[in-house]
């Protein structure tokens, strides 16, 4: 038998995930709690008018007060974000595949893509409202436009960066193009794709909300503008917190899918995340 000289790299023991979770997020959570406490105290002591800066306790009250309409708004925004992100990611991947397999497409399109990103969304959003109306379509288009680019860039880089040694290995086995795609190009592009998708997920909700600010029938952006024009600053904060939570949820969902889809990239790094 082969002996122990050639030991495998140690697998880290999968410590209790709850414990790890605490260890990872406890400091940040403590800081957040401290900041909220400080905020509450500051507003109470300074007697700041609530339309300028509402105390966290007032924000919580505003949340309870408007609780009935919030699920509808949140769902609308979530819907727009997911649709836009889904279509944006698909478009990003499709374009990345095209640009990496046909050089001329890359030379023509890549510069245009980069230029397209210099157009501020805040300028584009009202135009889209004129073109697509007040329904969810212009919001989905905004989300699509902000999400496809990070996916496109990171997927393109990942495809171009595929290990040439692996491609050569498959070729030496007499693999077909399809087999090379399946065994090398696709898997090696996945981590890059997910890196882009994570960034896109973080942008998606913000994109939807900005589009909603320009006019909408429902959504957290609408809730925020309405509250703002009624000087309900406490409700504006409720909106902000919900937008943040929604973004976080999307980000976390992408991370979980990433882990499931590319288990090798997380191997030997413990169980935390």
């Amino acid at each position: 038998m082969t002996v122990a000289i050639d030991l495998p790299r140690a697998r880290l023991p999968g410590a209790g995930s709850a414990g790890r979770f605490l260890a990872n997020y406890l400091p940040a959570t403590l800081l957040l709690v401290a900041l909220v406490g400080f905020w509450e105290a500051w507003v109470q002591v300074r007697n700041t008018p609530s339309y300028v800066l509402p105390a966290p306790s007032l924000v919580w009250e505003a949340f309870l007060r408007t609780r009935g309409t919030l699920p509808g708004h949140t769902l609308t925004t979530l819907n727009e974000s997911l649709l836009g992100l889904g279509i944006g990611a698909l478009a990003g991947v499709a374009l990345a595949s095209l640009m990496t397999s046909v050089a001329i497409v890359r030379r023509v399109l890549y510069p245009l893509m980069i230029v397209s990103q210099t157009i501020p969304m805040i300028v584009l959003a009202p135009l889209l409202t004129i073109w697509f109306g007040f329904g969810i379509e212009p919001k989905v288009v905004v989300v699509l436009l902000v999400t496809f680019f990070p996916v496109l860039v990171s997927t393109t880089e990942a495809l171009l960066g595929a290990d040439r040694n692996l491609i050569a290995l498959l070729q030496s086995m007499g693999a077909t193009r399809l087999q090379t795609l399946r065994y090398v190009l696709l898997p090696s592009a996945l981590p890059g794709f997910f890196a882009g998708l994570r960034i896109a997920a973080a942008y998606a909700v913000t994109g939807a909300v900005i589009a909603e600010l320009m006019g909408a029938q429902s959504g957290l952006g609408l809730y925020i503008t309405r509250s703002n024009s009624a000087f309900r600053t406490d409700q504006v904060f409720v909106g902000i917190v919900l937008v943040a939570l929604l973004s976080l949820a999307l980000f976390a969902a992408v991370h979980i899918i990433n882990r499931l889809a590319t288990p090798w990239a997380f191997a030997g790094k413990g169980d935390n995340s």
Binding site: V3, D6, P8, L166, A168, M173, W264
Partner: protein, 253 residues
């Protein structure tokens, strides 16, 4: 009978400014079922020659054939183990080991059960479902060697397959390799810079000069098989090893 590997006046220069003349005037043969080694200092062009035979590099001039097929026109004729092994990070050890067989059209079940048996023998038992990143360098190399042998080709090209192995594991692998070779009699072209390893395993050993690499000497290893550790302590072995080392030294300076 036509030789399994035949190389005539082969030269290859990597493009660049100036071009790198890696190998030049290479002439060699390996008969069907013969075990041939290629020794040379690092950077002399051994891997380049193997890549040409694997069909991965089209040489600038000359002729190379493997099992009657023109290696400059076809790919996938021989089973090839690149230097460093090279595993797919996203396939578990067992799937990596069966990759060559799967691509060559061997049924997944058949390939897998064959690989499972060999995992034990290779000291890889229990690591069938490990990711490559969880294996030590030596284990990765053994998985790659397994993959190469499970690829159904009659000629096998091995580029420093035991480079990352410790002395004991290396000896185990030598025993295994001789066993398999005795049973299957596939043609093997084996690249190494370990002279002892070359003499222990091979029928013949070629010595390659420093870059541009060309074959400057050829030795026959006459020891009866199966060869164990004992041949390495025999006086004949010591003499031959000395001559081989001299030739290698002369060729490398």
């Amino acid at each position: 009978m036509e030789p399994a590997i035949e190389v005539e006046n082969l030269a290859h220069a990597y493009p660049g400014k100036p071009p790198v003349q890696a190998v030049m005037d290479v002439n060699m043969v390996a008969a069907e079922g013969e075990f041939v080694s290629l020794v040379g200092s690092s950077g002399c062009g051994k891997s380049t020659l193997l890549k040409v035979l694997a069909g991965l590099i089209r040489p600038t001039s000359g002729h190379a054939s493997v099992d009657g097929q023109d290696a400059t026109q076809s790919i996938g004729v021989a089973a090839y183990m690149p230097q460093g092994g090279v595993l797919l990070p996203w396939l578990r050890a067992l799937a990596n080991a069966t990759l060559g067989a799967t691509i060559a059209g061997v049924g997944r079940k058949e390939a897998t059960s064959h690989a499972r048996e060999l995992f034990e023998r290779f000291g890889l038992g229990g690591f069938e479902s490990a990711w490559p990143s969880e294996l030590s360098g030596g284990m990765q190399q053994r998985v790659a060697l397994l993959r190469t042998f499970l690829t159904p080709r009659s000629t096998i090209l091995l580029d420093e397959p035991f480079g990352a192995l410790d002395a004991i594991t290396r000896r185990e692998m030598h025993a295994w390799l001789q066993d398999v070779w005795a049973n299957e009699r596939r043609t093997v072209l084996f690249v190494t810079h370990d002279v002892e390893e070359a003499l222990t395993l091979s029928d013949r050993v070629y010595v390659m000069s420093k870059r541009p690499g060309t074959l400057v000497a050829e030795f026959r290893s006459p020891f009866p098989r199966p060869r164990g550790r004992e041949i390495q302590t025999s006086p004949e072995f010591a003499t031959l090893k000395g001559q081989l080392l001299d030739a290698l030294e002369a060729a490398s300076s």
